[in-house]
């Protein structure tokens, strides 16, 4: 469903993503892990078509994100790291607006009540987004990702700020989508979530892919059989830092 090949993206001479290649197949959830400034968000935004890569190929469902962006985007749904919704729309209008962008108003009409109830937004449907708490805004961002029949879900820290019930709902929803044949790429810092949710993980560091595989494969690679993903992750990233100390970009490009 998603193919990223030799992706390179630089900002003012700083290479945020350096020759990254990976695939996410239909029916799997892949975790994109890495410390701050690893290039996760930049990679996700290149896939979304928000950033223009320096070079490399990104195919979504066989469509090239550069030359066939509309077809590729029709298959995608994006959950941003910081929700930042339109503050002066009501909750209902916000979801409706996103549905209009995907030209899926009938789907919206059919599913709006389910979405509002699932993410506990029903009581706030006519309230301005500006009046929502941060957690509720994140729930709204999640709800907006389900207004069309996406085949690829790109989630940048989707659990950030959501209460446990909301997190559970989202995880269940993503797993359901996976079971229905969608591909899911989750960029996250929450290693325990990644361990439970993802079928496979990709560990990025300093713009490059450090390791890729299932938890068992990563355990084997780092000779840490039976250890948690957190322990494996920390070992791998620390080793990489020792081997090749690179210029860190703690603030992240955030682009």
């Amino acid at each position: 469903m998603l193919e990223v090949k030799n992706l390179i993206k630089s900002f003012k001479g700083f290479r945020a993503v350096d020759d990254v290649s990976f695939r996410v197949e239909a029916g799997e959830i892949v975790g994109l892990l890495g410390p701050n400034g690893a290039g996760k968000t930049t990679t996700v935004k290149c896939i979304c078509g928000i950033l223009n890569p320096d070079s490399g190929i990104i195919h979504v469902g066989g469509y090239d994100i550069q030359s066939q962006d509309r077809e590729a985007k029709q298959l995608m749904a994006f959950i941003p790291e910081m929700p930042n919704p339109y503050e002066l729309l009501t909750v209902r209008e916000h979801i409706q607006f996103v549905a209009m962008c995907y030209d899926t108003l009938p789907v919206f009409e059919e599913h709006i009540e389910t979405l509002l109830n699932r993410y506990e937004l029903k009581s706030k449907e006519n309230a301005l987004v500006a009046t929502l708490s941060k957690g509720m805004k994140q729930k709204l961002a999640v709800a907006c990702a389900f207004v069309h029949n996406a085949k690829l879900f790109l989630c940048d820290e989707p659990m950030m700020g959501i209460d446990p019930k909301g997190q559970h709902e989202l995880k269940t929803e993503l797993q359901l989508m996976r079971d229905e044949g969608a591909a899911v790429l989750v960029s996250t810092h929450q290693l325990d979530t990644a361990e439970r949710l993802c079928d496979r993980v990709i560990i990025m560091q300093s713009g490059r892919i450090r390791a890729e595989g299932t938890l068992e494969e990563l355990q084997a690679q780092s000779a840490m059989t039976g250890r948690t993903l957190e322990e494996v992750f920390l070992r791998m990233t620390e080793e990489a830092e020792r081997e090749a100390p690179m210029v860190s970009n703690d603030s992240g490009t955030g682009q």
Binding site: C48, L51, R70, P80, N84, Q255
Partner: protein, 573 residues
Amino acid sequence: MKPLWFLTTRVLVNSLKRAFGNPLRAILTLLVLGFFFLTFAGNVLSMFFGDSKPPPMPANMMLDPRLIVDKLIGLMTLLHLALVAAAFFPSTAKSYAGFFLEPDVNYLFPTPLKRFKVFRFLVLARGMFGSLMLMLLIVFYYAVFGRRSLMQLSALNIEPQVGPWGLMTYPLIYSLMTMGLLFVSVNIGIRAYHNPALWKRVWLVLGVGLGGVAVAMAFFGLQAAQKGESVVDGLIAGMNHPVLYALLIPLRAPADAAMIVYNGWSAAVVLGAVFWLGVLVAANRALKTQDVWLYEYAGASAQKRARAVSAQQNPLQAMMDRVAEDAQKGKIKTLRVPFLERWRPTGVWALFWRDLLIGWRLGGMTNLIMLTVILLLGAGALMAVKIWGGQKADKLVVVVAGLSQYIIALLFIVGSLYGIMDILKRMDFQKPMPLPASHVVLIEVLPTILTLALLLIPLTLISIALFPQNAGLWLYLLFIELSFMLPISLGLLILVLMNPDQTDYTQRLLLGVLMFPIIFLCGAPGLILLGLSFYFKVPLVINAILVLGANAMATVFLTTVAANRYESFNPLD
């Protein structure tokens, strides 16, 4: 483009609805909108439906209508020249990037809508709002600077040269011009995203162009002066010189269009309209060639805007972050005030101590620099009056001192708005404290007044040293000025508490538009007594007592109102 229209209209409607959800804000919004509608729309409508006969010209008035029209065209050309220059000025050009918001990046850019159409729509829709504001500004300056000529013109019995629909020419050309400028500026912005040096080249070209026009016009003005003719006539002759006329066609077009009722159709109107249409089409095409970069540029701009808005909403926090960062790097030293640090106040004075301590640590160096500059400038001006003022020195010095103190106070009041806005972020922290709201609001404005006093007292002492015979007057000015600061600062605080959300169009408009009327209103009781006291030549001491009393009463009243607003404050309202 249906979703984009939906977004734009809903945001506007919800902003207005929100404004009308709060009774006080609703009244203010109605007043502001009513003012604009009655002033501008009323004028336009009267051209269509009003009495078409102009008022009769007084018999003793001998005026050349051509000269008056030319003067007004000159003024409008100048105003539009400023608009074009401003479009490429660093600050304005960068603010063009502010058309894009973080929600656009998160919810609009990942959707399958056509990239170019989305980008163009956002630039046009949001740019239009800004350009309408600029048009109001131009009309305002036109009315202010051209008032005399306009009155003379209305007194002349001139038949309109075009029908009422001709009035649409100016808005049309103005729109073409501003949209053209907008697209050119965005084009440059996108190219400068990869090559920041590009802006410098643009400013160089613009500087040379503006300089050339200024030199040519100065030449005509000087030539007229040498011949003993009016400089204004010389400038008008320059403006109508074939070469300058041709060069200035893009600016003459809106200027001539604004005067089309008296001037009729001119070559500049037609050629200028074609020119700006051409610019718009060319810039649109050039933008299309940058298609793949549009979202990335918009995303970077949205990030910049978010940072700028955050700094604007919370300038003290932004300044604090910057100072902290600079101090960490060892670039600056924060000012330590030992006696302040040792002071251990309690109750509401603890808030005062905190504000003072933070204020002086952050802005202490700036305050010291300001103090030095003000002292040097003030003392310099007073010395100049003393040395060269001759027999009029005593009267002149009062004007100089009064004027300089007025300017300092005005700058301070406007600047203090940012400090006052900072109260919003402290709300959650200090509202649960067991402190009376009336004391808190008063304490919130005190540090600003104290800082102003620290700047004015040395200036007053210098004035007393140089002109001891006016000592009473200097002290009078000092106390009077400081007494006005209290009600005015409280008025601004009330305005901020009523319009706390600066991301909301309506609230931002209300804060900007109502700032000066509020300053005037809150100072009105004192001002009225001040005027009356001078009119009736009341002795200075009684005059001071009356004004201080009026300001004290206004302060008590405004403290009650501000405390009430503070207690019932709801940021989500």
